[in-house]
């Protein structure tokens, strides 16, 4: 608990601290870490708690980002997103646009989830991967929105009371979003719903014998995770002010998965640590060597082999599930 408080305090004071050190640039990196932490926690909700190993989670991340980018693009152009069957104007207000991004991602997650969850284990891994690739190719050839070139936002979205183009404001918004989602996830995993999800991870057959239609609950979990990833996508679109199909590429899903496992799956703070470690490592290694993947690869293997609960496990010595 003390650690939690000191970590929160550190995160709250980070911009001031960095300003004092003259390292304002790092605020932007910190926001990026928070956003990736959000998507990593959302993946962990289904992976660590629900036992659903998805290699296509970046698809929802990308969809959320694209929804924001497309509407913002049209809002800047003054052209409608849709003119038939009804006129849908462009938008750049975060309070409408971001929920829309969440909704669209959730809808897509419902469709992909309903199909993928008919299978499990290795099938599930490969099917989620293939669906994400399908979306990737769809957006690569979607010429109206830049295709492979991606789409630039001309400005960040409007948010009442905040100036998102200010890195510090944006940082606090990301921090708040992550904080709220962590709280939701914390309640979720120990709620009745969370019990069912964790039970399905451990022993799905038994859950059914007890009387749970597990498919529905797993699908709900898949949709919640997809929706949260969509929100993270909306944030990353605003952060980089740019989206591209690369966001949905399967290797990007792989990176998010790596963050979860590196930090410790089945824990809530593990993925946050994982995202931070991965992104910082990437920055630092890239400064020292061009061949950073030569070192990162074996490091991942070692984590898979020896660090069952990732960094979180090493730091706390705790088992999973004790949230």
């Amino acid at each position: 608990m003390l650690l939690l408080i000191s970590a929160t305090l550190l995160l709250l004071l980070l911009p001031t601290l960095l300003g004092w050190l003259g390292e304002e640039y790092l605020i932007s990196l910190a926001s990026r870490i928070l956003i990736y932490a959000l998507v990593a926690v959302s993946l962990d909700l289904m992976l660590g708690f629900g036992g659903m190993v998805s290699l296509g989670h970046a698809a929802f991340f990308g969809i959320g980002a694209y929804v924001v980018a497309i509407f913002t693009h049209h809002s800047f152009d003054g052209s409608p997103v849709l003119s038939w069957p009804f006129v849908l104007p462009g938008l750049d207000g975060a309070l409408v646009l971001w929920p829309l991004a969440i909704l669209v991602s959730a809808l897509l997650a419902a469709i992909i989830g309903a199909l993928s969850l008919r299978t499990s284990g290795m099938h599930f891994i490969m099917i989620t991967l293939a669906f994400a690739q399908m979306l990737f190719f769809f957006f690569v050839s979607l010429e109206a929105y830049g295709g492979d070139d991606g789409l630039s936002l001309f400005a960040r979205n409007r948010f009442p009371g905040l100036d998102l183009s200010d890195d510090t404001h944006f940082y606090y918004l990301c921090l708040a979003v992550l904080g709220i989602f962590l709280l939701i996830a914390y309640r979720l995993v120990s709620s009745r719903f969370g019990m069912v999800i964790r039970g399905s991870r451990d022993n799905e057959k038994r859950m059914q014998a007890l009387g749970f239609p597990t498919f529905r609950y797993k699908l709900a979990c898949f949709v919640i995770a997809g929706a949260a990833a969509g929100l993270a996508g909306a944030l990353i679109a605003n952060h980089t002010e740019y989206v591209s199909p690369g966001l949905m590429h399967w290797t990007h899903s792989g990176v998010i998965l790596v963050m979860v496992l590196l930090g410790g799956s089945g824990t809530l703070f593990g993925p946050v640590l994982g995202a931070a470690t991965f992104l910082i490592l990437e920055e630092v290694l890239a400064i020292y060597t061009e061949h950073w993947m030569l070192y990162l690869g074996p490091a991942l293997i070692l984590v898979a082999l020896f660090a069952r609960h990732g960094i979180y496990g090493i730091l706390t010595g705790r088992e999973r599930n004790n949230v």
Binding site: L26, D148, D149, T240, Y242
Partner: protein, 390 residues
């Protein structure tokens, strides 16, 4: 838990420590060194470094520190690196981007932060037209240039029924459009393939059925190798002459294609056999330093460095004088390895464009031979769209 905060603090402290020597002019190079296209960035970087080494670590007599980082061909990542260069390293001049989609993502942000960007490769139409900017210079080519020259040549050579092939993404369509701008004959077929496709048997069979008298294709990197090998094996290369922009025919790629590319005519703004003093000197020095023949990318990296050198000399290393620096750059007062070189009003090259042929030299190495200059002092199609307000 404490350990991680300690580690975090260390990193926060260590990163800046590496960046505390502000004497030389810092030039930030964001380029692609990993992924399949990694050799392109390597060429640009090596070309640039050669110029730097020849000046003894100085460009135009001004000490320069070159910071190179790999963007992995990922626009998001490139943007992040650019941010760091600008905000933390206080870089005033940037260069290096290979891919158009990366450039489109990064350049607007760079130039709006009052940082000069010199493109050593990517030349998307957006940045030449509507998105042009006084802080953006392209020292390589506007993307369409290399297709336009082929279109013109195919016309002159009397072909009237050409088949077109490109990947299904915006750059693919741009290159086809560039070709069509000067080509006047019929189109036998226009096919867009999946990005990163490896098997082209279906397209080749359809092409045979279309019975064209020539083929124009744009398939960069591995896609081009795949296609050329398979096209060669199909035997069609004996009946249908092949044309394309230089991207699938640089000297490093050619070694991987082998004889399959022999005889292909491609459009370029530079070849190692161009006969001018600057070029002779460059090619010899590059071969000596790196043990290989430079590609056009290397020449572009080299020219980028020499352009910067001329401007640095002119402002005497004071990169804070943005206006003076821009004026000096626009003068393009350097000896380009391409010979005559000036900037158009949208700050893209006005230069000669050549058709060259893939041949095998005496040593058995596959390389390009310049055939003729199709355009002299050619500008680009987007000058009119660019409203540079200065």
């Amino acid at each position: 838990m404490k350990k991680i905060f300690l580690a975090l603090f260390c990193i926060v402290i260590i990163i800046p420590a590496t960046a505390w020597s502000l004497d030389p002019v810092k030039i930030g190079m964001v380029t692609t060194l990993s992924t399949k296209a990694g050799y392109l960035g390597e060429e640009v970087r090596d070309g640039f470094r050669l110029a730097l080494a020849q000046g003894g670590g100085k460009l135009g007599g001004i000490p320069v520190e070159l910071v190179v980082e790999d963007d992995g061909a990922d626009p998001g990542k490139a943007r992040q690196i650019a941010d760091r260069f600008i905000k933390r390293d206080k870089v005033k001049i940037m260069t290096g981007i290979i891919f158009s989609n990366v450039a489109i993502a990064v350049v607007p942000r760079v130039v709006s932060s009052d940082v000069i960007y010199i493109s050593p490769n990517a030349g998307p139409s957006l940045l030449a037209g509507k998105g042009c900017d006084p802080n953006y210079f392209n020292v390589a080519y506007q993307n369409d240039n290399l297709d336009e020259v082929v279109g013109q040549y195919v016309n002159e050579a009397g072909f009237t029924n050409v088949y077109l092939l490109a990947p299904n993404y915006p750059a693919g369509k741009d290159h086809i459009a560039g070709f069509k701008r000067y080509y006047q004959g019929q189109i036998a077929g226009e096919v867009y393939t999946k990005l990163d496709q490896s098997d082209y048997a279906a397209e080749i069979a359809t092409m045979r059925a279309g019975n064209p008298d020539a083929l124009f294709f744009f398939l960069p990197g591995g896609m081009g190798i795949n296609f050329l090998k398979q096209f060669d094996q199909s035997g069609l290369n004996r009946t249908i002459p092949v044309f394309g922009p230089a991207f699938s025919f640089d000297e490093r790629l050619l070694q991987a294609v082998g004889s399959a590319a022999l005889g292909v005519k491609n459009g370029s703004q530079w070849t190692h056999d161009l006969d001018n003093p600057a070029n002779r000197q460059f090619v010899a020095a590059f071969r000596e330093t790196y043990g290989r023949t430079p590609t056009l990318y290397a020449s572009q990296g080299y020219d980028a460095a020499r352009l910067i050198a001329s401007a640095l000399k002119s402002v005497n290393g004071d990169v804070a004088q943005l206006t003076a620096l821009r004026t000096a750059l626009r003068a393009a007062d350097f000896e380009s390895v391409r010979g005559n070189f000036t900037f158009s009003s949208n700050q893209h090259p006005i230069q000669n464009l050549y058709i060259r042929e893939v041949v095998q030299d005496e040593a058995g190495i596959f390389t390009n031979k310049t055939l003729k200059a199709v355009f002299t002092e050619h500008s680009n199609a987007y000058v009119g769209e660019c409203a540079m307000g200065e």
